[in-house]
């Protein structure tokens, strides 16, 4: 293979790669070697991967090659390599959650989504970097170091699924599974110029996905196109007896409706998403994208999500409250970091947790513990839940009149590494357009729609509950007439 072919292959979609495998243009093994090579060459600049599973990937490649040749495997993702955010439990492979607490942790069981991808014949390349325990919007909160944005390595890739987004953007994996609690797949996708979807809460099993905030956490496919996201979502969705909060509803054929025309599509533009604080460059790109949808036959009207401004406050009570309990299991007793020579039980707890957790995790545990404390519960947790209900009602009302909502994913493009590190409030406010969706539990996706000052800008498309098919259809139609999703950072386009 020439250098040019390698670079080309690394920018293909999962669907295209699968076709090349089926057409015998390339074997699974060759494809795996190509990505392993690229990881070796480029990842030192990005730090996207925490663990690369070379041997396992090669062994799996042989197996999948054989099964595809024998006709045993014909899943549309068969043979396509991918990366998992390092909070999905994978038997025999480290699952660090970006934390010193789990630096050496190997799960004895597999997450449901990993299990499903294994059955589909997808080939795991490795586990990718993330903000510690999925807490963060910049990937600076990782015990394994910051991840850099392939479009400008002085900038953050976003978070918490920053490793996933950077790896895809730089051609170090065709797709990845991230997790989204308050925007953690949409925001990094927007910063890195790739596509991602946070499905309706309950669409995908959470079993084996290390919990941050259980009522908000949802696995999210991150990929090069809406078409790829449809395939991935199809593969990993569905009811799981091991997750009571997974939806017991049939999974539609997401690929089947991708080509429906958008004539008559009713788009709502939430006016609150275009108020003060939105960067002018980002606003311009978003408005151009909306114009493109008009040309595709959609109608556009302004709508209101009047309580969305409360989402940051509500989210940063609810998520830390749940996290404070979810992270109690990391106590140095059974697994994970355990301090040296504890003098007594209290010492074991205090030092193991103090040494194991990073600053942002500690901050959220303290916030959450406080919010749930006797005497404060009503004022914080209960009030936040009421706000959550109001926000949900806003969306329900909006979808009475429109099919989808559109707006920016973030107020700005990717910021500089270190720029907001000392200002958690500024960091939290950057989540303002993604949090209302998470609190309501509705699905939303992020697709690249242009650049502002040479940095990618993502459009957020929000749908009604369990209407992922519509979102993917809308995104796919846009990607049929534009090529923003096919742009790759030049610095990573070679061998």
């Amino acid at each position: 293979m020439t250098a040019a072919t390698q670079g080309d292959l690394s920018t293909l979609t999962s669907k295209e790669l699968h076709h090349k495998i089926v057409n015998k243009d390339i074997s699974v093994m060759e494809l795996v070697e190509l990505f392993l090579n690229r990881i070796e060459q480029y990842d030192p600049q990005l730090n996207a991967y925490i663990t690369v599973v070379q041997d396992k990937a090669r062994a799996q490649a042989i197996e999948v090659d054989n099964k595809i040749r024998s006709g045993e495997l014909n899943h549309p993702l068969a043979g396509v390599p991918y990366a998992l955010k390092d909070l999905f439990c994978t038997k025999g492979i480290l699952t660090t959650c970006g934390s010193n607490m789990l630096r050496n942790f190997k799960s004895p069981y597999d997450a449901t989504v990993y299990d499903k991808l294994n059955h589909a014949g997808a080939v795991l390349l490795g586990k990718v970097n993330m903000d510690e325990f999925a807490m963060g919007s910049s990937n600076e909160n990782s015990a394994f170091g910051v991840v850099r944005n392939p479009w400008d390595t002085s900038r953050v890739p976003g978070g918490s699924s920053g490793g996933s987004a950077a790896a895809i953007a730089a051609g170090l994996a065709p797709y990845s599974l991230g997790s989204d609690t308050g925007g953690s797949v949409r925001q990094p996708a927007s910063y890195c110029g790739i596509s991602s979807i946070k499905p309706t809460y309950g669409r995908i099993s959470r079993y084996g996905m290390t919990a941050y905030a259980s009522s908000l956490d949802q696995c999210g496919p991150m990929a090069r196109s809406a078409e790829d996201m449809a395939l991935i979502l199809q593969t990993i969705s569905g009811f799981d007896v091991r997750d009571s909060t997974s939806a017991n509803m049939p999974v539609p054929d997401y690929s089947a409706t991708l080509n429906e025309p958008l004539t008559g599509l009713r788009i709502g533009i939430p006016k609150e998403f275009f108020a003060d604080g939105l960067d002018a460059g980002v606003a311009k790109v978003i408005n151009e994208a909306v114009e493109q949808f008009k040309r595709l036959g959609a109608t556009v009207k302004e709508v209101s999500l009047p309580n969305s401004h409360l989402s940051v406050a509500a989210y940063y009570v609810i998520a830390p409250a749940e996290a404070s309990a979810n992270l109690s299991r990391f106590d140095g007793v059974r697994f994970g970091h355990s301090c040296d020579a504890p003098t007594n039980l209290q010492d074991l707890y205090e030092r193991s947790r103090w040494e194991g957790f990073g600053d942002e995790v500690k901050r959220r545990i303290v916030i959450g513990t406080y919010a749930l404390s006797s005497g404060y519960y009503d004022a914080y947790y209960l009030k936040a839940q009421k706000i959550r209900r109001l926000i949900k009602n806003d969306f329900v009302a909006a979808f009475n009149d429109v099919d989808v909502l559109m707006g920016p994913v973030t107020p700005t493009t990717a910021f500089k590494i270190g720029e907001k590190s000392d200002d958690p409030i500024a960091m939290y406010l950057g989540d303002i357009y993604t949090l209302p969706i998470s609190l309501a539990g509705v699905p939303a996706l992020s697709i690249p729609v242009g650049f502002s000052d040479n940095l990618p800008v993502g459009l957020q498309i929000i749908g009604d509950y369990f209407n992922e098919a519509k979102l993917l259809n809308v995104a796919h139609q846009y990607q049929q007439v534009t090529d923003w999703h096919r742009q790759s950072p030049i610095a990573f386009s070679g061998v």
Partner: protein, 477 residues
């Protein structure tokens, strides 16, 4: 000196007899090697999620129905947060604001009086594991086999006024949960244990005194002793000018005393909040109707029915309804033997019960099952054997596998009702005991027993006692 009134409320933890744990598929069987019955969910590994065991819900609801309680159409699991090594997740999944069983009641009997005790609520929760502090290389060990075992915590109103009432309440509840088949009631294994909230107040005072909670008492005897000790402690404290502080105390059964474990100030802030991993539990009217149809006859109703239907006295009715297997056994024996119920009751509370006690067996493990016991009683009723001989046959039934009829046949125990044969023997005996005949005829009526004994001895106990009496009477008069 003031007259004191005691106020007691009990919190009883009944372990529900489900096959698997409340939120995982691991077995609940007791006594396995440490940590062999703890799966990924029980260990609280990253990424695991709880899934509610429907049987635990069923058992909680059937309990609620049995105490005529309000069954919540909508109940919620909550996380109770605290750190302890035997609590793998750092929180216990329990219920707080919306328990599955609401207000109900239990009637207890103390000194022949019936008293109604209010039940505030009953909620589902998971048990913790066990810390093993003894002989583990100088360290503490953790056994998580018990972690996740379903518990029903039954909270009473502060309606109990003495240790005696508390014990009666606990016994009634113990009997009820076993009747319902929702708990094995094994107190040694911790399947049924109790926390007691105890306070005292001057008689006539409306407000409650400050209470102390005595934790984890696992026998009826200890409940009585612990409460009585605590009452005495509180009264003595107040009478000496002190005040009771709200605290948690532990009962030491060896020293027979309670001692402070932690005060109110040291109490945990459990930071309860609804568990986002579990959906609220919806109990439909259909589900309730189904359970109602499956609700067994309860101890009180059964006892009343035994009195009227079988004409049993209070004592026998109480004993025979003290457990469902015993009551079922009794009814089967009455039906299969065709005997008078009173005879069955007497034999059960007498011979059978003595043999079971001696062997330390429960009725369900009796070597003589209801069918074999019924056939024995049937042979008494049809005069094949006498009561005395029947005891001999029972022994043989207990020891071996032969049927009643095989034993009677093999040992030649069949009762002789042939009047000719009895008469011949009696004639011989009267002839051989002239002196005794004279005494009897002279007014010593006790001598009648002597003759009966002689006849029975001569006939190896097989003579029909009624015939013997009749013929002896005729011959001696």
């Amino acid at each position: 000196m003031a007259q004191w009134e005691t106020v007691i409320g009990l919190e009883i933890h009944a372990q529900l007899a489900t096959k698997s744990k409340i939120f995982s598929g691991a077995s609940t069987a007791y006594g396995a090697e440490p940590n062999t019955q703890a799966c990924a969910v029980d260990l609280g590994l990253p990424g695991v999620l709880p899934v509610l065991n429907e049987d635990a819900v069923y058992k909680a609801v059937i309990f609620g129905m049995a105490i005529e309680a309000h069954i919540a159409p909508y109940s919620v699991f909550a996380r109770k947060n605290y750190f302890y090594p035997d609590l793998p997740k750092g929180y216990q999944i329990s219920q707080m604001d919306l328990p599955i069983v609401g207000i109900g009641h239990i009637d207890i009997e103390v000194d022949g009086e019936t008293k109604r005790i209010g039940v505030t609520r009953a909620h589902l929760e998971e048990d913790a594991g066990k810390s093993l502090h003894e002989s583990f290389h100088g360290l503490s060990g953790i056994d998580l086999n018990r972690a996740g075992t379903p518990l029903l915590e039954i909270v009473s109103e502060p309606d109990l006024r003495s240790a005696k009432e508390a014990v009666a309440y606990m016994r009634t509840l113990h009997e009820l949960v076993r009747y319902l088949g929702i708990c094995d009631g094994n107190m040694q294994e911790g399947s049924f244990r109790c926390d007691a909230n105890v306070s005292v107040r001057p008689k006539g005072q409306a407000e409650f005194g400050t209470r102390a909670e005595i934790k984890n008492i696992n026998s009826f005897k200890f409940v009585e002793k612990a409460i009585n000790h605590e009452i005495a402690r509180q009264i003595e404290l107040i009478e000496n000018g002190g005040t009771v502080v709200q605290e948690t105390r532990l009962y030491d059964s060896v020293k027979d005393e309670t001692r402070s474990m932690r005060s109110k100030e040291e109490a945990n802030d459990y930071r309860y909040f609804p568990d986002p991993d579990l959906l609220p539990v919806h109990i439909s009217e259909d589900f309730k109707a189904q359970i109602k149809a499956e609700l067994p006859e309860l101890p009180k109703a059964k006892k009343q029915r035994f009195k009227t239907e079988y004409a049993l006295d209070d004592e026998n009715a109480t004993i025979l309804t003290s457990s469902r297997p015993l009551a079922d056994y009794f009814e089967a024996v009455v039906k299969q033997s065709g005997c008078e119920a009173k005879l069955c009751a007497n034999w059960m509370t007498g011979t059978l019960s003595a043999a079971l006690n001696k062997a330390g067996l429960d009725i369900i493990d009796s070597p003589v099952n209801e069918q074999r016991f019924a056939s024995l009683l049937a042979r008494i009723a049809d005069n094949t054997i006498s009561g005395n001989i029947a005891k001999q046959v029972f022994e043989a039934l207990w020891q071996g596998t032969d049927t009643t009829d095989e034993i009677i046949e093999a040992q030649g125990l069949k009762q002789i009702t042939d009047t000719g044969a009895i008469e011949a023997i009696i004639t011989e005996i009267i002839a051989a005991n002239a002196k005794q005949v004279e005494q009897y005829r002279g007014g010593n009526e006790k001598m009648f027993g002597f003759f009966v004994g002689q006849v029975m001895k001569a006939m190896q106990g097989k003579a029909n006692p009624a015939e013997v009496n009749k013929i002896l009477n005729a011959k001696l008069s």
